[in-house]
């Protein structure tokens, strides 16, 4: 099949504007051949609409604040696209990471290797 670039939605759930992490990750994913749709700080409605309309293969969430905010978005995405994989990075304390993992979300806390994140994207989208 030609042109089979997979599409990843990247969003930040919080209103804090740290852009270091997400930008580096987006760049690495693009360099690994993904089409990355960046929507910046986005609320649940923004995230769900983009996940559907852009028909992405994976959602990446950068979580900066309270885990419940992210969980609300994750649950809504899972309602409308049950089989869509989601992974998350950012300031995610251990207890919150466990909550995310229970929802089937893979967690990449600060200090994760870019290579691991790219691997995960490839695995979750079935690219390799």
């Amino acid at each position: 099949m030609e042109n089979s670039q997979n599409r990843i939605l990247m969003a930040k759930t919080g209103l804090d504007g740290h852009w270091r992490g997400p930008t580096i990750v987006a760049r690495a994913l693009r360099d690994a051949g993904f089409e990355v749709i960046m929507i910046g700080m986005a609320n649940t409605d923004d995230i769900v609409t983009a996940a559907v309309d852009e028909d992405v293969d994976l959602v990446g969430l950068n979580i900066g604040g309270h885990i419940d905010v992210a969980i609300r978005s994750i649950k809504r995405v899972q309602e409308v696209r049950p089989s869509l994989p989601i992974f998350a990075g950012g300031t995610i304390p251990p207890h919150a990471a466990k909550q995310l993992q229970a929802l089937g979300v893979e967690v990449y806390p600060p200090g994760s290797q870019l290579a691991d994140i790219v691997d995960a994207a490839e695995r979750l989208t079935g690219t390799k």
């Binding site: 209103l15 504007g17 852009w19």
Partner: protein, 543 residues
């Protein structure tokens, strides 16, 4: 970066090549005359004052805040009791940074985030709760308002409460920071006023303080926020002075106050202290020299009271690791040491749980204890500028200065600091550095203990994140409704209208802001005026 093999190039974070040892011959010619000057004398790189920390220990000044105003008040009192010698009132970032009330849809959509990063203060009533019983007359207070568009509100709230409690404005000491690097470079907000409107606010604050609050530090440029976004130490210096020049040129253009006074107002800055101890110490020394040089050469100011830079310093939050968080206590200590060796006046150490959450009470206490141990036990405070005269330190200081001025010039070529923010040029520099830095840790060239080496699969010493309180949003909503219901509505409406009129004019915004706060106008209403009058900054980057 540092390899054992002798032929491998070793560089500082600023990209300055390092020799394996230094001799007197390495010190650049232009710097040699400065080496032997006493601290407290121009060009000041050796320190603010000859007696250094003997006469005035550095201020222990920790960022703090979460939850409801009363939670924050309690934490500040705890810190003061633990030995903090100034206090910082952090505002909730969701509401404050954006000038939203809690009922704004973007805030409601993230209601659990509210209160996570600071107390919610939407009206003067909230600020009054937060300031209850705090020693505003004797302590150096940070009123919050680190964000440019939020500063007039935060300052006016703090000052109005102080006034209502019977304090004379002219006696108040403190700052609100109002820093561009924070939200125009580092944590870019979803919406905020354009940079030219921000410049006007800051110039207004500088002029207002000169008239009514002579002991207040009206604005405090934070190199920290530039550095923690990726700029190297030389760039941090360059960007800080390019920013200062923007303020001073604006004040000069407006011609309403003396430039000397304005320089005094801009002369309290903050830097990041990162992990390369010696280079960071050199950076603080370089900063003082550069400031006196800048004032003399560009503005013909050489009054020693003015050209002597005062430095607050915060250890690098981004160096704190998620893995093995207790290692961060060591990192905090090392970074603090660099700052102290550089002779800073004030210091905050980031919490060991920085990468996990906002600081827990214990993490906060440790940040203070680190400083107290250094201050009281190590003897580091006994002699001013302990590194002075070291071949290496003097050479690196001089080289940093040279590199920093080069970066300063390249910012000028971009049309100045604000233009370089507007165009995204600074973000591109920072972004590239971030990427390189990331790649160095990814490849293991830069070792990070517990992260890319000496890792634990399962740590027995796990720390979990502190999550603050969970009623901040509900209480803030109640209180907002309460203010809107019980305030004198006509007075508030009139003040708000006047605020809009003054925003549209070129009047100083602070007097009308004080009136608006006294009339219990709320933060979100003020933000709405801004959005209407000034519009939104064109964010040059994709976040």
């Amino acid at each position: 970066m540092t390899k054992n093999s002798t032929d491998k190039l070793v560089t500082s974070t600023s990209g300055i090549e390092l020799k394996s040892y230094y001799t007197a011959a390495d010190i650049p010619e232009q710097h040699k005359p400065h080496v032997d000057v006493a601290p407290g004398e121009a060009p000041f790189h050796r320190g603010f004052h000859a007696s250094g920390y003997r006469s005035k220990p550095w201020r222990i000044f920790q960022l703090s805040g979460f939850g409801k105003p009363e939670d924050e008040n309690e934490r500040i009192k705890f810190l003061l009791k633990s030995g903090e010698t100034g206090f910082i009132m952090e505002h909730d970032r969701n509401t404050a940074d954006h000038c939203y009330n809690v009922n704004h849809p973007e805030v409601v959509a993230r209601c659990e985030d509210v209160g996570l990063t600071g107390a919610v203060m939407q009206s003067i009533r909230d600020t009054a709760i937060c300031m209850d019983g705090l020693p505003v007359d004797t302590s150096f207070g940070h009123a919050g308002g680190a964000v440019v568009q939020h500063a007039p509100f935060a300052l006016a709230a703090y000052w109005t409460v102080a006034k209502q409690r019977g304090f004379d404005l002219s006696s108040l000491k403190g700052t609100g920071q109002s820093d561009f690097n924070l939200t125009y470079l580092g944590c870019v907000t979803k919406e905020q006023i354009p940079t030219d409107a921000g410049l006007r606010f800051n110039a207004d604050i500088i002029e207002f303080c000169a008239e009514f609050l002579p002991r207040w530090v009206p604005v405090s440029i934070a190199g920290y926020n530039a550095a923690d976004t990726g700029l190297t130490p030389d760039q941090e210096l360059g960007v800080l002075f390019a920013n200062a020049v923007e303020y001073l040129d604006e004040i000069k253009r407006r011609g309403k106050m003396s430039l000397i006074q304005a320089a005094q107002g801009c002369g309290g800055v903050s830097f990041r202290a990162s992990i390369h101890i010696i280079e960071e110490a050199c950076k603080m020394r370089a900063a003082r020299l550069m400031w006196s040089q800048l004032l003399r050469e560009r503005y013909d100011i050489s009054d020693p009271k003015v050209s002597n830079l005062r430095i607050h310093c915060v250890t690098a939050g981004s160096k704190m690791t998620y893995q093995q968080p207790f290692n961060n206590i060591v990192r905090g200590t090392a970074m603090a040491l660099g700052a102290i060796l550089g002779g800073v006046q004030s210091l905050g150490v980031s919490g060991y749980d920085e990468a996990l959450s906002i600081p827990s009470e214990h993490a906060h206490q440790m940040s203070i204890r680190i400083q107290q141990v250094l201050q009281e036990e190590t003897g580091i405070a006994d002699v001013t500028d302990p590194l002075g005269g070291s071949f290496y330190v003097e050479t690196l200081t001089a080289k940093l200065i040279e590199k920093a001025w080069t970066f300063f010039e390249s910012i000028q070529k971009q049309g100045g600091y604000l233009a370089a923010l507007d165009s995204g040029w600074l973000h591109a520099q920072a972004g590239e550095n971030q990427y390189q830095e990331f790649m160095k840790t990814e490849s293991g060239d830069q070792k990070i203990i517990g992260v890319n080496c000496f890792r634990d699969d399962e740590s027995p010493f796990e720390v979990d994140g502190f999550m603050g309180t969970d009623d901040a949003f509900d209480v803030a909503t109640e209180r907002l409704n309460d203010v809107l219901r019980t305030r004198h509505e006509m007075g508030a409406a009139r003040a708000l209208k006047q605020l809009e009129a003054d925003c549209r004019s070129d009047k100083n915004i602070m007097p009308v802001m004080m009136d608006a706060l006294a009339a219990e106008v709320t933060l979100g209403e003020i933000g709405d005026v801004y959005r209407d009058v000034f519009g939104n900054w064109n964010t040059p980057i994709q976040t």
